[in-house]
Amino acid sequence: MQHPMPILRILGLVFLLINPVALTVFASTDDATLESAVFGSGDRKQGYDTDQYVTNSLSITARKGAKADLLKYINEPILGLPAVSQPVDNIATVEKVELGRLLFFDRRLSLNDTFSCAICHIPEQGFTSNEIKTAVGIEGRSVKRNSPTIYNIAHYDILFQDGREDSLEQQAWSPLLAHNEMANPSIGYVINKIKAIKEYQGLFEQAFDGKGPTMETVGKALAVYQRALNSANSSFDQWKYGDDENALSQDEIAGYQLFAGKAACASCHLIGADYALFTDNQLHNTGHGYATSMGIKPPKTRVQLAPGVFVDVDNEIINSVRQQPKQNDVGRYEVTQNPYDRWKYRTPSLRNIALTAPYMHDGAFSTLREVVDFYNRGGIENELLSPLIRPLDLTEQEIEQLIAFMQTLTGSNVKTLVADAFAAPIGDISKEDPNWAHDTQYSD
């Protein structure tokens, strides 16, 4: 299946050709390498479904970037987005951003020192993971949902796919403590670990008026970093809110008109007069969750073995090596226990959607085409299907135009945000750290 990224890159090249400023910015070899590294995994798999697959891989060591002034993405509204709302008791500062970033990339903040936030929210993969459908936590434990992107997370009223949190400051602790994510045994364990790592010495006190690492300050620091990851001023924004009538092609404009009109995507993925969040901050039943919970699978699963090599494997064989039964997922119901909330999931923002495959709450769809096809069919009928979901009767051309429009939603500062993330040190255990798992008799 065609991945959306090549189209995006072509658009990027076109952008370079028509924009002399951009040509200046990306002129050097280093910048060209960075430009190549920030949009998607360096382990590129476009064309992997054929035996003509040719790699265009990037080395891990090419992940080099430069620290950016992230605070301005909180304090200065970006074209297409509203002002960032901040809690009065956690106003962003440079010190908080930098501390939050340090924590975000620190793999030591997990029970066995192997998992940071960034392992599931990978910067160049849209701050999600393009390489797996559903997240995998510590010791390989299964997480039943796709890692959501954290781009523009500041503009969500509800957090997680089931909306179970409403504050970034609080949300940060869920993955830190979840048994199948970072698996820390307690809040105190995390706090004590941070206190023992020399890189954090004095940083909390500096950021929080003398207050050291606590449950509150850890949550606040992580919240501020994530709150800074705002990305807009896309081609669409320049066309819609920037009065640049040439920012979109005719097909993209047609796609926008479908998005707001016939296809009715904008009923949930809101576009306002002054800005567009592309989410209504609500939860809906599209039928996808229902089908996954209640549907009957075919007896075989198509499995890819190598480029262009597929086999249909009996599910009996697959189940023989499935460690745990596939976890059921009833969506919002799991939070409210209200039967009317079964299989409702949060409306994701579509900003940077070209960067955040795979799609849906469980990553079931690899491409935007599959997503549009699903909605074009009217989702999947069930007693709780949102009345907003109905067959769309889109033509082939209209589907392509709709997809073309969604690919104009990539923010202009993605490169800056990802490069900033590349510049962040990855916190790995070193000899400077306490040897928490082994007595000194085993160390040097």
Binding site: G42, T55, S57, V136, G140, Q304, A306, V309, G363
Partner: protein, 460 residues
């Protein structure tokens, strides 16, 4: 009656000089540097006769026994009164995804890795071969290597251990490299695998340069090192059934092998070998300039060989079982005379014996179901004893009644395998049995069941 080669431990500096001399000479006298279990590094000291112990690197299981990884020592000398029994266990803390282990050139230490925790446990197996001690734990593998994750193969070079990795700390994908450590466990250097943006001087001979890693082996007489490619942390730690149903994840498997210059550690040529080439086993004879691998997903046997023009080539030479049923070939082992190769297939629990007298045309001669699942094999130098274990990866093993975890010994009479004993690792609450390495008193000039050195043997 044990036979013992001279104890040939070299200090690392001396050993480093030796490898340089070997490389410059371009030839290698296999008779002077040998190993007991076949397919081991030719730089290692060797047990000629009967091994006394097999060390089994074992995965802890949540909810079972002490739940942590351990080195299990099994007595395997038929003359011992505890023959066929577990005589010692050493728990190391945590479930590290215990996987492979490797001996130093002098065989005094066993390096054992954790694919998840990235720890390297270095066991002293010479002070008392019956009761290994945890000598040192390397906890900073990721930090020292600059971001490699999943220390996999530990392969002895003179004074060095080459450690191939599986993943990285940036995205937990498959791009990775290999690290060089001293036999004392000190980091020396990182060698990243070639990717398209930086082939590091290698020739991309086909379509693929994925930068993935798995095994590492050397043919010193040809100054060649070979590496293969598997998958990254996100896949090897994922529930196997879940992964098979994840179309994105299934794209993230290695499809390459790399020929390296052993002396300079520089990659020379990247081959397309589609479908996750895993274990590499090299021929032993002085004139057999080739190695084999098998592809886990596409179930093929591949030959990596030096042609008459001196150019290295990769060729698919046989199918293993019915590839459409994905039998999943895992560990392989070549006989000491290079005429036969054992191939384990995990899904059907079989071991298969191939005649590889003509390496370009292997022919399967025999197969036997070892159990509901099988992974590793270690065969003795004389080919008469074959040990088998079960576990593949903590989250890939079979479930329910098919999740057998054992250590088995078979005798091979040339025509068929004869079962000798089974140790049920679940019944003993030990965990999942994975890789095996041999130990013997004779290596250290010790009498059986003693930690005392028999001085009189040192000069033999």
């Amino acid at each position: 009656m044990k036979k013992t080669l001279p104890f040939t431990w070299l200090r690392s500096t001396t050993a480093s000089m030796l490898v340089a001399v070997v490389a410059l000479a371009g030839s290698f006298h296999s008779n002077t540097l040998q190993a007991d279990e076949t397919c081991m590094s030719p730089y290692m000291a060797k047990i000629v006769g009967q091994e006394d112990y097999v060390y089994v690197w074992t995965l802890g299981v949540e909810g079972m026994g002490d739940e942590q990884d351990k080195l299990v020592t099994v007595s395997v000398n038929p003359d011992a009164k505890d023959y066929g029994e577990v005589v010692h266990t050493l728990s190391v803390g945590g479930r590290n995804e215990a996987h492979h282990s490797g001996l130093t050139d002098d065989r005094r230490f066993l390096f054992a890795g954790g694919l998840d925790s990235n720890k390297i446990f270095i066991f002293d197996i010479h002070s008392n071969p019956r009761e290994p001690k945890l000598h040192k734990v390397v906890t900073d593998f990721v930090e020292k290597t600059g971001g490699m994750v999943g220390p996999h193969t530990f392969y002895a070079l003179p004074g060095r251990i080459m450690v191939s990795a599986l993943s990285n700390n940036a995205d937990h994908g498959g791009r990775t490299g290999m690290a060089e450590y001293t036999s004392e466990g000190e980091f020396v250097a990182s060698h990243w695998f070639p990717t398209d943006d930086n082939l590091r001087g290698a020739e991309k001979s086909g379509n693929i340069a994925d930068g993935y890693g798995y095994d590492v082996r050397a043919l010193p007489r040809r100054n060649v090192m070979l590496t293969s490619s598997f998958t990254g942390w996100s896949n090897y730690m994922m529930d196997f059934g879940q992964m098979l149903s994840d179309a994105e994840a299934m794209k993230r498997f290695g499809n390459t092998m790399i020929v390296w210059d052993l002396h300079t550690r520089k990659p020379k040529k990247v081959f397309d070998v589609p479908g996750a080439p895993l274990e590499i086993r090299c021929a032993w004879s002085a004139h057999n300039n080739y190695c084999f691998t098998t592809t886990a997903l596409t179930s093929q046997m591949w030959l990596i060989y030096e042609d008459e023009a001196g150019e290295w080539q990769a060729e698919a030479v046989a199918d293993i079982g019915d590839p459409s049923k994905v039998p999943l070939p895992v560990d392989i082992s070549i006989t000491a005379d290079d005429t036969g190769m054992w191939v384990q297939t995990f899904m059907d629990g079989k071991t298969r014996y191939f005649d590889i007298t003509d390496p370009h045309n292997p022919v399967q001669k025999y197969e036997h179901v070892i159990g509901s699942q099988v992974n590793m094999i270690s065969q003795s130098w004389d080919g008469k004893r074959a040990y088998f274990t079960t576990s593949l990866l903590g989250n890939w093993d079979k479930t329910g009644k098919d999740d057998e975890q054992w250590f088995k010994l078979y005798h091979w009479n040339g025509n068929q395998l004869e079962h000798q004993f089974t140790i049920d690792f679940y019944e003993l609450k030990l965990g999942r049995a994975h890789q095996m390495r041999f130990g013997a008193y004779s290596l250290y000039s010790q009498a059986p069941n003693s930690s005392d050195t028999v001085v009189s043997q040192l000069d033999k």
